[in-house]
């Protein structure tokens, strides 16, 4: 059954079929929530909230859009609302970028020592607004138009932010590589 057919069945009274929707999209929703929060428990709670909201709003689903895009929109908005409420990021975007750069070095060395996925960590370092767009575009494959509808932002702003986010990530990767080279050199000297 297609997503649309399942939604129609649920609205007609077969609510048990919502389990199928959960099975199909739990990974995508949970992964997005985790990338936003970096915390498994928070991601799980947020994901459940996303599916509950989705269930209650099934009548509002417009079949002109992909169901995956629609549920990711709910996930994005729910995650962003949660982060803003938590007041994790209370500084303006530009100041935050600078402050993150200042404290980057120690963390970069830590990265190498712990042997973590540096790209994953670099993404986690991005401010929420940029991170959201980068993940939606590159990992979930949404178009600029879909992201604009997803986040209620003008398409030009989405494009600019994604480009800016990529530049930030690129600079971060460059730093990591340079730090890594220096760290390796130091190890060799020892």
């Amino acid at each position: 059954m297609t997503d649309w057919e399942i939604v129609q069945e649920i609205i007609s009274g077969n609510s048990q079929l919502f389990r199928e929707i959960i099975t199909r999209y739990k990974k995508a929703v949970y992964s997005l929530c985790f990338r936003m929060t970096n915390n498994h428990e928070e991601a799980e709670d947020l994901s459940q909230e996303v599916f509950i909201k989705t269930y209650h709003n099934l009548r509002k689903y417009d079949s002109n859009y992909k169901f995956s895009t629609w549920i990711l929109k709910i996930a994005t908005n729910t995650s962003i609302d949660y982060i803003r409420k938590k007041k994790v990021e209370t500084v303006p975007l530009e100041e935050e970028i600078e402050s993150k750069h200042e404290s980057a070095s120690a963390e970069l060395v830590y990265l190498h020592q712990q042997n973590k996925n540096y790209i994953e960590k670099a993404i986690n370092e991005l401010p929420t607004d940029y991170r959201t767009l980068i993940i939606l575009y590159h990992q979930y494959g949404l178009s600029y138009k879909e992201i604009a509808e997803n986040t209620n932002l003008p398409m030009s702003k989405v494009k600019n932010r994604i480009h800016k986010g990529r530049s930030l990530l690129k600079d971060k990767l460059k730093e990591i590589k340079e730090e890594g080279a220096q760290w390796t050199a130091k190890q060799l000297q020892l």
Partner: protein, 204 residues
Amino acid sequence: MDCKTASALIMSYVDGTIEENALADLQKHMKECYQCSEEFQLFTEMVNGIEELPMLEPSNNFETNIMEAIDLELYTTRTKKLQNYSPIFISLGMYLTFLVTTVKPGIQKNVVLDFISAIQHLTLLSNLWETMVESSFLLMGQLLRGTMQSIVKLATWNTTNFLLAYSFSFLTLVLLLVLIRRTLKGLLNINGGDLRWKGINMEE
């Protein structure tokens, strides 16, 4: 080509919107410019890394927790909602049948006759328009009086104990049917409400 243009083209390349001619120009520029070449490598490495990020799995009880949290009756149709009252309708039907067919034939007859009388008067009232055309308001008053008398007869019939006893057993019957229905529903929910055959994976 300058590096600023090259940077913009690298973005287009990452977006997948770069044209063939522009790509050729970019590649030519990157052969001569180490900085842009490095930028290109970093971007492609970064994008590939993001695309390859693993999709994470929530806990095992994820689906069950959500299904327990949502209201499964939210999208129940009107027909299905009426079905929820079916125990009451069934009980009422059984009781009416019981009242008409069982003991105390004398009282039964009076009940039936008075009931029929009330129905007859109500039927006549439903032809109000014809009544008004054919006769006067006086006739209407007589019909109304007749209807009320039949209804009053039914209400004041010597049935106080009868009504109390049978109301109690009627409610007991409804309660019993509701409990049976809920037990059956609960048994269905054990399997997540899914009545389809599920094969067992022997490897798990």
